[in-house]
Amino acid sequence: MQKRDIFTAVCMLLIGGFIYYDSLKFPMPVEYLKFGGGAASYPRLLAVILIILAVLLLKESRALLKARRGTEEAVSPRVRDLISGSLTFILILSLAYSYIIDFIGFRLGTFLFLMAAIFKLKGAKPALSSVLSVVGLSAVATGVIYALFHLLVRVPFPVGKIFGG
């Protein structure tokens, strides 16, 4: 647990450091706005606060880690405990979906996304009835979403470049 906190604190230090470093490139304020500070002053202040908080977390975690060294609580969970197979699959699928619907269009993209996600989470057996029920469900769900957003709310969905959109 505390090792995880140390990792978190280091990440926050890096984020704070990046914000501070990047804000150095921002321009100085013009004369009539000088009392309000420039584009850099507020993010820079936040970066300093984040770094201070990260140092406090680091200090707290190190103290706890020292006190509990060798006990069960000091053991940090592994990365594979954080990201399971299904989760990784769904994450990749979501990113792929947002990338691919521009090419294959909303209807086919959503249908394929739902079908793949349901198959993976269901752990479906290759029985024909199971495959048909997942395919049917995905088709109906795509239709309902299409009706709600496109026909009812008039959201223009991408037709897909391969379909001439």
Partner: protein
């Protein structure tokens, strides 16, 4: 008398909206969606609001808000159904309901428990709306005189909520809040329009789009959390005797009134929502009860107290949101975001410029409670069936809704990336025990803080003391200090008292 007639005049100012039957249908639909959403464990009220907000883009603002109000009221109530029948609160505000609801269910009284929870939610909700109707206009009149100094003080007060919504560790809550403020700086600088942290991505020039970010933090994160869990929840129950006896309700009217007032007060305090209101009402009523030993073993009072409080807190939460423009909890943060999409900014001006719209919020809430009562008493058994819906169907559907909803805001594929990115960030933060709610608070309030603070500095030529010399901003800042130190003062007094007894 003027006070009452003004309040009633405001309440009915937007009645003409409801001559359109689609308004009533939207409240009904929102309430159904809300109850279903709330009754399914893992789907919180905030998530429901965030996921369904994009569906309202094609509607006019009044239709949009009444639909979302239905979801809000419905999901706060719906959480009690799963708390009673499977002992898993559908929403955090139903945690206290399960303490006595589930033991009643185990005795075969699930129907009775749901019936009383429905009536208590209805009555508590009505008291919340009455409080909103009568207090909001006066508060808005005061707030009309606010300038940049007061807004800075208000945002600081809003950010102090972090101290209360950070479970376990204040330090982690502050880290999350600061991260939210950092995310709020993405996009063009409000004064000079210089692009900050945009990585040359055009989609980020106007800032991190609020609704896709909130959909990501609440919707996508929750789906990922559910997928990450190994076990699914499937419990089957039968229940009957849903309609409660009026005699019992009449006997418990004082308890309902007290709990509802606690709910209104906690809801209106920019610190907590239904969950704290419900726990507080449960605690107070248990302490006042003649038979405290019966609590936790399936007593009706243990269901009625938290359920009246959590629905009363909805009306309470609207008070700071509508009058001051600050979100009291994550749900109202989403509602503020939704109204921004429709070109409406919450705050005191809303009461003068769009009185009929404010009225539609009051009437929408009342109608939603009426539908909640009817639906709860007639269809609770069907909603309960939803609890057993397999998660392998629900989760992909919700994820698809999240992504398509994010796209629908600006018809931009980039916003899907924003939602997915925020979802992954929220999931990872959850895993390292950094709470997401303070982050979203920082994200909503951050731009407001920066803009108003810099305006104060420019107008006062760098004299920040102006924040402490103006009476209203100084008072708000003093309240904030009191708010932050109250738990410490209370524990100090408790310690001192304990020491004296020793």
């Amino acid at each position: 008398m003027d006070f009452f007639s003004d309040a009633l005049k405001l309440y009915f100012a937007g009645i003409h909206y409801f001559f359109d039957p689609t308004m009533i249908l939207l409240v009904l639909l929102g309430t159904i969606v809300g109850i279903l959403n709330g009754s399914i464990p893992g789907l919180t009220s905030t998530m429901g609001l965030a996921v369904f907000t994009p569906l309202t883009f094609g509607m006019n603002p009044a239709k949009a808000i009444v639909f979302l109000i239905g979801i809000y009221q419905g999901s706060v109530y719906g959480g009690s159904i799963s708390a009673i029948i499977v002992n898993i609160p559908g929403t955090p505000s139903a945690i206290a309901t399960g303490l006595d609801g589930y033991p009643m269910c185990q005795r075969g009284e699930a129907g009775r428990a749901i019936g009383f929870s429905t009536v208590a939610s209805f009555l508590g909700g009505l008291i919340g709306i009455a409080a909103l109707t009568f207090t909001a206009p006066s508060l808005a009149r005061v707030a009309l005189g606010f300038s940049a100094e007061e807004y800075v003080a208000l945002v600081v007060l809003g950010l102090s909520i972090i101290a209360y919504i950070s479970p376990g560790s204040l330090l982690r809550g502050m880290i999350a809040g600061t991260l939210g403020l950092v995310l709020g700086t993405v996009g063009q600088d409000p004064m000079t329009a210089y692009p900050r942290f945009t990585f040359n991505l055009i989609g980020l020039f106007s800032g991190l789009e609020l609704i896709p970010a909130l959909i990501g933090f609440f919707g996508v994160t929750e789906v990922l959390n559910q997928i990450g869990k190994k076990s699914a929840i499937r419990v089957f129950q039968e229940f009957k005797n849903i309609i409660p006896g009026l005699g019992v309700i009449a006997r418990l009217w004082a308890l309902i009134l007290r709990s509802s007032l606690i709910g209104v007060f906690v809801g209106a305090t920019p610190a907590a929502g239904g969950s704290i209101a419900a726990m507080m009402a449960y605690g107070v009523e248990k302490r006042m009860s003649k038979d405290p030993e019966k609590w936790g073993k399936g007593t009706l009072e243990g269901i009625i107290a938290p359920e009246s409080a959590n629905n009363a807190s909805v009306g309470g939460a609207f008070i700071p949101m509508l009058t001051l423009g600050i979100p009291g909890d994550p749900m109202t943060a989403v509602l503020i975001g939704a109204l921004m999409i429709h070109g409406l900014k919450t705050g005191p001006v809303l009461f003068t410029a769009h009185a009929d719209f404010v009225s539609s919020i009051f009437i929408g809430n009342t109608l939603s409670l009426i539908f909640l009562l009817i639906l709860g008493l007639c269809c609770a058994r069907y909603f309960a069936k939803m609890i057993n819906s397999p998660s392998y169907i629900l989760m992909p559907l919700i994820l698809a809704f999240c992504m398509i909803g994010s796209y629908a805001i600006r018809n931009s594929l980039f916003d899907i990336y924003v939602a997915v990115f925020c979802g992954i960030l929220g999931y990872l933060l959850n895993k390292v025990k950094i709470p997401v709610a303070p982050l979203t608070l920082g994200l909503v309030l951050g731009p407001m803080l920066e803009e108003n603070f810099r305006r104060v500095m420019i107008l006062s030529e760098g004299k920040y003391t102006t924040l402490f010399t103006r009476p209203i901003s100084a008072s708000i800042l003093m309240i904030t200090v009191g708010f932050l130190f109250y738990p410490h003062i209370r524990s100090w007094f408790k310690k001192k008292k304990g020491g004296q007894r020793m």
